[in-house]
């Protein structure tokens, strides 16, 4: 555990052709660290090092590698080596890897699997993206209802090494339909001659292959589960989703929310691995929509050109009004979007939320308005009526921004849109228009007197 894998040491051992030592050196390290270090090697060395890895760890290392490097390796190794690699990989890792490969690599790999595995892989590749089926693993332990504890333990001993998770096992009937789950904890405590059914519990959650992965993740978190069984439409147990994949889904869904909330179409790819054109494509749509929407705000300003001509100082407060409104709206919408994502806020809470935001808006708005009034008088040397118009507009803007910011995400969810779309960018654009309209309304009412 105090062992740090060093790229320099690996390079030194390669240059000295000290293959035995290198093999020993790598065998001590963690598979994730090996995969990370291999990313730094050039291709020739990568293949060399990969080939000398002990068989039992090379499949794990391969699973943690970058798609680019996985492709390099598969292109370079022999069919026999591919077969041995696939034999040692978990099926869900194989599927994840194949999903990232170009067609010719997929063909090469599938040619090196036996028919039943090929059929399974194809079935997995056909599950829709983001479905429970696409993230499940088939390496789980299932007992037959009616077995004794002794039979179950023997079966478990024979199958433990091929299973991703054994702390929760499942019980099925003769038709392979899910009957319940067994905790390994209960299994080792039970009497050898008892029936497995006597320690079988109902799983808190069973999902279907086509259920959305976000639903699975939310429910699994709610019940603190470390595995969720997946059934097909006949109720047969076809796989389980383990907690490490649930954490990945949680992070993926969070990333999607971050991206949507910053007006981007979400992408699965890592930043540094995404091409410039693909990145531009994910960003341009919302920028165009928002740019064109912002022109309505421009129209409002043009409508008041005469007023502005008479009192040109008004224009210098636009940025402060617009930015503060945008920030207030972003604060409210972020809290609501996040609260809904974590199931802390439901539609039925809408009036409580609005009432809370109204009061927060009053407190915050009054403080900002007072500070602004003093600043405008003292530092900008504006007249009292101008300072008053700016400050009252600011207060109204803050309250309005909080109201729009909390209401829109909730409405979006109500009409089955993703609340994350109703975040800072859209809220800002709407608040801008409202806040300038209010500003000019007050200005035209109260500054007529002084103009």
């Amino acid at each position: 555990m105090d062992f740090n894998l060093s790229l320099d040491e690996i390079n030194r051992l390669i240059d000295e052709n000290a293959w035995g030592k290198l093999r020993q050196y790598l065998a001590e390290a963690n598979e994730v660290d090996i995969a990370t270090v291999l990313e730094e090697l050039d291709n020739d060395k990568l293949i060399l090092v990969f080939r000398i890895l002990p068989k039992d760890i090379s499949a794990d290392v391969f699973s943690y590698m970058d798609p680019d490097q996985q492709e390099q390796i598969v292109q370079s190794i022999s069919n026999t080596e591919i077969r041995s690699l696939l034999d040692n990989m978990m099926l869900d890792d194989t599927v994840d890897f194949l999903e990232e490969m170009p067609a010719n690599v997929v063909t090469k790999v599938l040619q090196n699997t036996n028919e039943s595995t090929r059929k399974l892989i194809n079935q997995f590749l056909n599950y829709p993206d983001n479905s429970a089926g696409s993230i499940m693993t088939i390496e789980f332990v299932q007992f037959r209802s009616g077995w004794t504890i002794q039979q179950a333990m023997n079966y478990l001993r024979a199958n433990a090494t091929d299973s991703e998770m054994i702390s929760i096992c499942y019980v099925v009937n003769a038709k392979r339909q899910l009957i319940g789950m067994v905790e390994l904890r209960d299994l080792i405590l039970a009497d050898d001659n008892a029936l497995i059914d006597s320690i079988t519990d109902d799983p808190p959650l069973v999902v279907h292959t086509l259920d959305d992965q976000e639903y699975v993740a939310t429910q699994a978190q709610k019940y603190d589960l470390i595995a969720v069984p997946v059934t097909d439409k006949e109720g047969r147990l076809v796989g389980i989703i383990t907690i490490d994949d649930i954490v990945d889904v949680v992070q993926e869904e969070n990333t999607e929310d971050f991206e949507k909330m910053a007006a981007m179409q979400p992408s699965d790819e890592e930043y540094l691995k995404t091409g410039v054109f693909s990145m531009a494509k994910h960003r341009i749509l919302w920028l165009l929509i928002l740019m064109i929407s912002a022109t309505f705000t421009g129209r409002i300003i043009r409508h008041y050109n005469d007023l502005l001509q008479d009192c040109i100082i008004l224009a210098s407060f636009y940025p402060m009004l617009m930015d503060t409104g945008g920030n207030c709206g972003a604060q409210a919408s972020t809290l609501i979007i996040r609260g809904m994502a974590l199931n802390e806020i439901q539609w039925k809470d809408i009036f409580r939320v609005q009432w809370k935001e109204f009061r927060v808006g009053m407190i915050v708005g009054i403080i900002l308005a007072i500070v602004n009034f003093i600043r405008v008088i003292l530092l900008e040397r504006a007249s009292v009526p101008v300072a008053a118009v700016v400050s009252v507009s600011l207060l109204c803007t803050v309250i309005l921004a909080k109201f729009i910011g909390c209401t829109l995400p909730m409405l979006a969810k109500k009409v089955k849109l993703d609340p994350a779309l109703m975040a800072s960018p859209i809220i800002t654009t709407m608040v801008d228009a409202c806040s300038l309209a209010l500003y000019f309304f007050f200005a035209s009412r109260f500054l007529d007197i002084v103009a």
Copy 2:
């Protein structure tokens, strides 16, 4: 698993005084669901229902309850009941619950524990917030180095029910220092007479009680771990952190990032349970800072009052320029902040990131500028020089926004600030000032000719 707990049914059974039936009805349900449904009951009924719950599930239900209701219950039940409740709760849940309680409740609870538990609880309550110590559990299985497999299995059978996790157990020496870990999988496969040390592995990660929980979560995700051992400064094993708590940390850290990125000071509390003043307090600081910063942009506008007076139409393009700049900056900063949070982007990548953002900015900026040019000519009926000034400013704004948006979060991390602070609100304020400065620069250069 097809069982849905119904509040109406519970109320009906209470009204009929059908306590036996109610107890049976609840015993079938999941603890999380019971806790959720109990939230809807008024206090008298809550206590009644809680009291009739079977002992083995009431402690779990209690752990999943709201702090408000936990307090109600503790205030209403007898000391004997408190002792029985504490006996059945996991220590980490007890600590989580006590952290939320007022002092008088904490005293009442601690009076009902024995001295050794009280000492332990106090020690937990003293770990700093967000440290590994504050989220660890002490209910784990540890074997002594030198034991046989048989001895270990016997020990495990005797202690399995009191442990939160048994799929990974730990091996310690006579000084209770951590030697390594044992997978239950290997334990059940091993020969009874072999030494436990023969199947002991190095844990991929060992953390210290004072390590930051975010570090633990990031590393646990990296290595796909379901438990992380925690040692004190003498290297003694004092607890483990289990994956369900790691998921909670991941979600907590994500929420913090969402809040910081929307210019709020992060808060641990749920939205609906946070008071209005506390909420206002978390929001006002950044709003004030950003409002005052926005006045610099106002200064730039005032500086060009004469130019604006001559060409008042210029003012109507502020919102479009400012919003688009803000959105472009938000897109870049969000991707970079998220990429750094997921360890996909490091400081050494800064030039690659800037070069990528420059190219994306060029593509996106040119498209936006062209669309904008056509729109300004056709719909706003502005002159070609004005349309050209607006569009060129837009292009420069987009490129600049992408540059600032990707650079600031990376610089923040370099100087050990939280990159999430360099998100949309600050970026928008900076981009606003730059974009208006550019706009007036171009306007004063090129519109002189036509003014």
